[in-house]
């Protein structure tokens, strides 16, 4: 997912950023969260539980929601 985000959203995240709080990610903001949802929905071909995604604390948590864990 980190590779996907860097490619689609123009970020420079590292694999170790996956577990970090979203607020601690360089360049992260709420608009990027919505863009992330759009990218993941397109990739997964199904809608994400947005209400849960917007309260997730890290990219790892969002990834778990995206893959349905």
């Amino acid at each position: 997912m980190i590779t996907l985000l860097n490619r689609e959203l123009g970020l420079f995240l590292r694999p170790e950023d996956a577990g970090a709080p979203l607020e601690a990610l360089p360049g992260w903001d709420s608009l990027l969260l919505f863009r992330l949802v759009a990218v993941l929905e397109e990739e997964a071909g199904r809608p994400l539980p947005v209400a849960e995604v917007v309260t997730a604390g890290s990219l790892a948590e969002i990834h778990a929601l995206a893959v349905g864990l």
């Binding site: 990610l25 397109e42 209400a51």
Partner: protein, 264 residues
């Protein structure tokens, strides 16, 4: 609403121990941040917020204690009559402060690309999508930035963050009185809410949402009169046997308000 530039508020030394008493409860959160620019932004925004609040309550910045409600909404501990809000983007820091009720502020670069795949569906109500489709294409992104900052400001003011889905409430076209609208475009809020949008530093769009709780107005916002009476009583009348908290340094970083401007 007060705005400032990030570069005017970034501490020279991000590891300066003098920052600890100023950041207070935010210190450990700050220490856990690994990226330099994230730490710069965090420290600068809290310094500005504390100095603005300190001006309002006429108290030293280091004595202003920030706390966070569930969901992350910041507030001034012990000063329930004053509400605050914070936003930062790129080089801009923005603080909202009021004694009237609740406030939320938000800012974005006015040319930030908003009309990207899938975003409108996530962010806009059906009414807003129709409205945007009628806006001249060259103006559409800027109109979307205005809507976005209003939504952010309102959601911050009500303390919901993004838990209140952005496509479940909206706003009308620019040039008209601003109020919250339901997804179908019918009115959602009344006169108790006021909204505004302005241009800041020549390249940012900043919006505010203000809820008038009917507290009335007062010119006296000094900490001595705005402090919550119950808290003061509890602090001043602690039982003798109660454990005393370790004394904390209260040295303030004497960062002047230079560079901060009143935007609205």
């Amino acid at each position: 609403m007060v705005h400032a530039l990030l570069s005017d508020w970034v501490p020279e030394n991000l590891d300066d121990p003098e920052l600890r008493p100023v950041l207070g409860r935010d210190w450990h959160r700050y220490q856990a941040m690994r990226h330099h620019h994230v730490r710069e932004r965090f420290a600068a925004s809290r310094l500005l917020l504390k100095h603005v609040a300190a001006q309002a309550i006429q108290a030293p910045p280091a004595t202003v204690e920030l706390a966070y409600k569930p969901g992350g909404r910041p507030y001034l501990r012990g000063c329930d009559q004053i509400d605050i809000s914070l936003s930062h983007t790129e080089e801009l820091l923005l603080v909202g402060i009021t004694r009237r009720g609740w406030i939320g502020v938000d800012a974005e670069l006015e040319d930030r690309s908003m009309l990207v795949s899938g975003i409108e569906r996530q962010v806009c109500t059906p009414y807003e999508r129709t409205m945007l489709s009628q806006v001249r294409e060259s103006d559409r992104n800027q109109e979307m930035v205005r809507l976005w900052t209003l939504k952010e400001a309102y959601s911050k003011a009500i303390g919901q963050g993004m838990r209140f889905r952005f496509n479940e409430f909206g706003f009308g076209p620019s040039g008209h009185p601003v109020q919250v609208l339901r997804p179908d475009g019918s009115p959602g809020t009344g006169e108790e809410w006021a909204f505004g949008t302005c241009r800041v530093e020549g390249r940012y769009t900043a919006s505010w949402a203000l809820y008038d709780a009917g507290f009335g107005d007062t010119d006296d916002t000094r900490a001595g009169t705005m402090l919550d009476e119950g808290l003061v009583t509890a602090l001043l009348h602690q039982p003798a046997e109660a454990p005393q908290p370790a004394a904390e340094a209260t040295a303030a970083t004497d960062v002047p308000l230079t560079g901060a401007g009143v935007a609205a």
